[in-house]
Amino acid sequence: MAMLHFLFDRTKQKRYLVVGTVILTAIAALSLLLGQYPIDFHTFIAYLNYKIYGIADIEIDTLALMDNIILEIRLPRILLAILVGAALATSGAVFQAMFVNPLVSPGILGVLAGASFGAACGMLISEQWYIVQALAFSFGFIAVGFAVLVGSIGTNSRSTVMLVLGGVISSSLFTSLLSIIKYAADPYSSLPAIVYWLMGSLSMAKLDEVLIVAIPILISIFGMIFMGKYFDLLSLGDEEAKSLGINVKLIRIVAIILATLASSLSVVMAGIIGWVGLIIPHIIRLAIGPSHRLLVPLSAIVGGAFLLLADAVSRLALSVEIPIGILTSLIGIPVFIMVLKNARAAWN
């Protein structure tokens, strides 16, 4: 591990971020071209030329087809995959720092379950997207609060295991509440929609919807990235963080709100996608060390790339599309077991 733990200089930090972004862009470009209807590079360039410079070196039929495939289907899906992956991985890293607990994530703390319950409520009572989002966020926040409350019963010190148990309880509470909603939902229309959405899917996205939800998600992600240096201090414990001169209460509240907002909105857009928030920060911590100034932005980039890759696999590998939430679990579990094997080195 010491080998991987590079000397911490700033140019190296920037290099990681630049390389990460380049790889992410490359994967995104590839996913734009690959699919059930592959697009060759020349057609794509001609299409771009037309869109950007108005050079009409492309047939009108091809143009309509390209518009359909790229703008209607692939672009929103790619953007959503990146956004959701980034949101989940960043929130995971931040929750882990906030609770000084490497075992928590939006999924484990119950945020995803709470947000899905809120979003399902929203879908039943209203068609307005902002009501669905607001309810998802509110219940996501309530769920994490409940997890912390249960986790602190009987102890006044912070306990890693108790908080995880609190999250398990909070998760199952909101999963049960969600079952009530499913039970009450119309079995011919809303029930299948809710069930399919919950399994995790990026395919229902429309470009304008993605762009709207991108704003709050990006604000949360960048907020969390800028708070990285404070997370380092918070992970030393409250007293030491205060003595080093930061406003612990304010930072904790803002961070939990941002992490909950990002992960709740990911649920609204793509259902429950587990494991990303847990494994991505772990892998980065193992590879380059725990400093949150680098961990948080890299989580965003690697999380986005991971979900994009997983989505590409789910689209390309089989003729039937596997819901992405199922796929991330299938990938996440063995990865996490491998990570656990090396985890001591990363935690201690």
Partner: protein
């Protein structure tokens, strides 16, 4: 002109879950002093330190540069006082340099990262405590003495001249204890000010310019270490029979077993 204290504590009371921990503590800390807080377990030493750092809230007055501590934010306190806690478990594997850089965070703007100047200061601090070669080692894997020195370097990187230390030599071997004390002694001659708790009367005799003895939530004596650390005091506070021996001008406390 009368010298103004950096820290002044007046009639401080604090209770925790109905039990009185501090009852009427007065304390002053002046520039360049090394003040040792001596007293048995549970006498309120650590509580007093936490109150001064505004990590706890009690009744009474605590002034930092003649202004009530309540008027300071933690960021402002951190620009006057550095706290060196006992070394402890850190859940994530930060390197020594990263730990020291954390001392710079309160000086940064909201959106700023540590600059190359901050890195320079952190490296200088590591050099000053003599562990520059450990900068890339993982904090959690260092020995107790090395960890304590990293925390010391972090306090220096904080850019202040007043240090509050909680049992700085706890858990260190004899060599590391002596090196740390010598280091504190040296820094005090460069104008740094120290308030530290200790379990060892000898350490107070060795390096402090003033010794404050606490027992049962009260300060029972405050003065020159040689005058404060006496046979009756050791008997009273610790229940130990001891002799105070003098070699040249140095005094040492020697326990006597019967």
């Amino acid at each position: 002109m009368e010298l103004k204290p950096i820290i002044e504590v007046k009639d401080l009371h604090f209770s925790y879950k109905k039990s009185q921990v501090l009852c009427g503590v007065d304390l002053r800390l002046f520039k360049g002093e090394v003040v040792s807080l001596l007293g048995p377990n549970g006498c309120g030493k650590s509580t007093l330190i936490k109150l001064i750092l505004k990590l706890l809230h009690g009744n009474g007055e605590i002034l930092l540069h003649e202004k009530s501590i309540e008027e300071y934010s933690h960021k402002e306190i951190a620009s006057h006082i550095a706290y060196i806690p006992q070394y402890h478990h850190v859940p994530f594997g930060y390197s020594a340099l990263e730990m020291v850089l954390m001392g710079r965070v309160s000086k940064l703007g909201i959106f700023a990262s540590p600059s190359s100047h901050d890195h320079f200061i952190a490296l200088e601090a590591l050099k000053k405590v003599g562990i520059l070669d450990l900068k890339d080692r993982i904090f959690g894997q260092l020995s107790g003495g090395q960890k304590q020195l990293v925390l010391f370097a972090r306090a220096i990187a904080q850019g202040v001249d007043t240090f509050i230390m909680d049992e700085p030599v706890n858990g260190l071997d004899y060599g590391n204890q002596m090196r740390l004390l010598e280091f504190i002694y040296k820094l005090s001659h460069e104008g740094y000010t120290f308030l530290k708790t200790t379990h060892y009367p000898d350490h107070a005799l060795l390096i402090s310019s003033r010794t404050v003895v606490m027992n049962g939530g009260k300060i029972i004596s405050d003065g020159q270490p040689g005058e404060v650390i006496t046979v009756p005091m050791i008997q009273d506070v610790y229940g130990v029979n001891a002799e105070i021996i003098t070699h040249d001008t140095h005094k040492r406390c020697m326990p006597i077993f019967r």
